[in-house]
Amino acid sequence: MPIVVNITKTSALRLMIRQLTCGLMIAVNMLIGTVGAHAGEISLAVASNFLAVEKELARAFEQKSGHDVITSSGSTGKLTTQIMQGAPFDIFMAADTVRPRKLIELGYAVDESFIIYATGRLALWSPTAESPEALKMMLLNKRYKHLALANPKTAPYGAAAIKVMDALKLGSIDQLVFGENITQSYQFVKTGNADLGFVALSQLQKEPVGSYWPVPDRLHQPLTQALVVIGDASKKEAVASFLEFLGSSEARSIITSYGYTVASGE
């Protein structure tokens, strides 16, 4: 008899669990329903120099569309290698145009998806300089222990910095220190380990300490940044809607507020 009792007890429990699960599923369905029946997910790989902007863009886009954006950031070179090794990204926002073109050429990215989404600006920055003029004199007279820049081999901002120094005919300098990317160049200057450095103008928009000199465009190649859609992610509705959002005036004003320029009209 005790056995029978036991069985009925378990079956009662099972029934309860089933009812609970059922209720839970309905609740979850309702929750999803309120967000939008078509909620999708985009996974976005973004060059580290653009990460702060991308986060703000993603937040605005998520609120508007109900889609989710999952962000991975890294250097353009590393992300390119990862994509070639099958990393599951839908959109790649690079820090240059070379690597996106390369991915198209090798068949990893969709040809028609190539868009220049922002143009960056280089700035020379020192937390201790009193004025942009003083900063320029520091650079021209080599009055510093260390000058930081991003690695010119791997980072477009680093290559641009070298162009600028060539254009200013500074000759060979052996006080250069190289950050892995523009973020590290900023870090070297920020921590006082380098007296001055070439950083992205966008990095100085939040908390301008000391002085900076926005380097004139004519001294280097424009720092155009392109995005591409990877593989067959172009079929995703969320991807199309994100690209559409990027062209909107809301997205454009977010991008320009960080010191980037966007191509006028499309």
């Binding site: 690695n151 791997t154 590290q184 070297f188 380098a194």
Partner: protein, 229 residues
């Protein structure tokens, strides 16, 4: 295809050699103290020594960058006494590597010292051997396998160091651009051929070094057992 650049290779070997020598000098007294002490604070020191094993190198690198900077507490102190700047210099890499590889040298030494036990030392003391004599003629020979393991692990670990060097080195060719950073750069710009050559070289070198330790340790263990039997 251009030849392999040897500068980062030599620099890495130099860094690993200097670091290992310094580490043996620093770690031997520390490990000896840890092996002998009955102090209650021993676990605290053991935990501190082991920290680099578990901390991401970026944490160590970040703190070093901040602490050693001209405004950081250590950096400003060194600057005040007229010492060199440690960030972006070879000396700085050595300093960081000593910290980073410390557990790899202290732990094998401590184990070796502890496994000697008190008996041989007490016997020697009753026979009139001084503390110094006991250390050099008993502890050092008996702890030889420990020293070999410690030196090799310290050397090999420094060879493969990356995160800390990347944070405080500044990637200066000939000064702070070590092998792992050079490989990283090659991968970044998709020069896979160069990356392959340097990576394979590092892999083979590391394996050879480790193989050597295990072989040496096996032999000395066999020898010791031979005596005991």
């Amino acid at each position: 295809m251009s030849g392999i650049e040897m500068v980062p290779v030599w620099l890495t070997l130099k860094l690993a050699t200097v670091t290992t020598i310094l580490l043996l000098l620093v770690a031997t007294p520390l490990a000896w103290w840890l092996a002998q002490t009955k102090s209650r604070s021993k676990p605290i020191f053991e935990a501190m020594v082991a920290l680099p094993l578990v901390l991401p190198p970026t944490v160590l690198g970040f703190y070093l960058l901040v602490l050693l900077g001209p405004e950081g507490p250590i950096g400003s102190l060194i600057e005040a006494v007229g010492g060199p700047r440690l960030v972006f210099t070879f000396a700085g890499l050595v300093f960081a590597s000593v910290l980073y590889s410390l557990p790899f040298v202290v732990q094998p030494l401590q184990n070796a010292f502890e496994s000697i036990g008190r008996a041989p030392l007490e016997v020697a003391a009753t026979l009139g051997a001084s503390a110094r004599d006991r250390f050099f003629s008993i502890v050092l020979p008996l702890a030889r396998p420990g020293f070999i393991t410690a030196a090799t692990l310290g050397f090999a670990h420094t060879l493969g160091e990356f995160g800390v060097v990347l944070m405080i080195g500044g990637n200066i060719p000939g000064k702070t651009q070590v092998l792992s950073v050079a490989i990283y750069d090659h991968v970044e710009v998709m020069e896979y051929g160069q990356a392959h050559i340097l990576s394979a070289g590092l892999l083979i070198a590391s394996f050879t070094v480790l193989l050597l330790v295990y072989m040496l340790n096996r032999r000395s263990r066999a020898k010791r057992h031979g005596y005991l039997l």
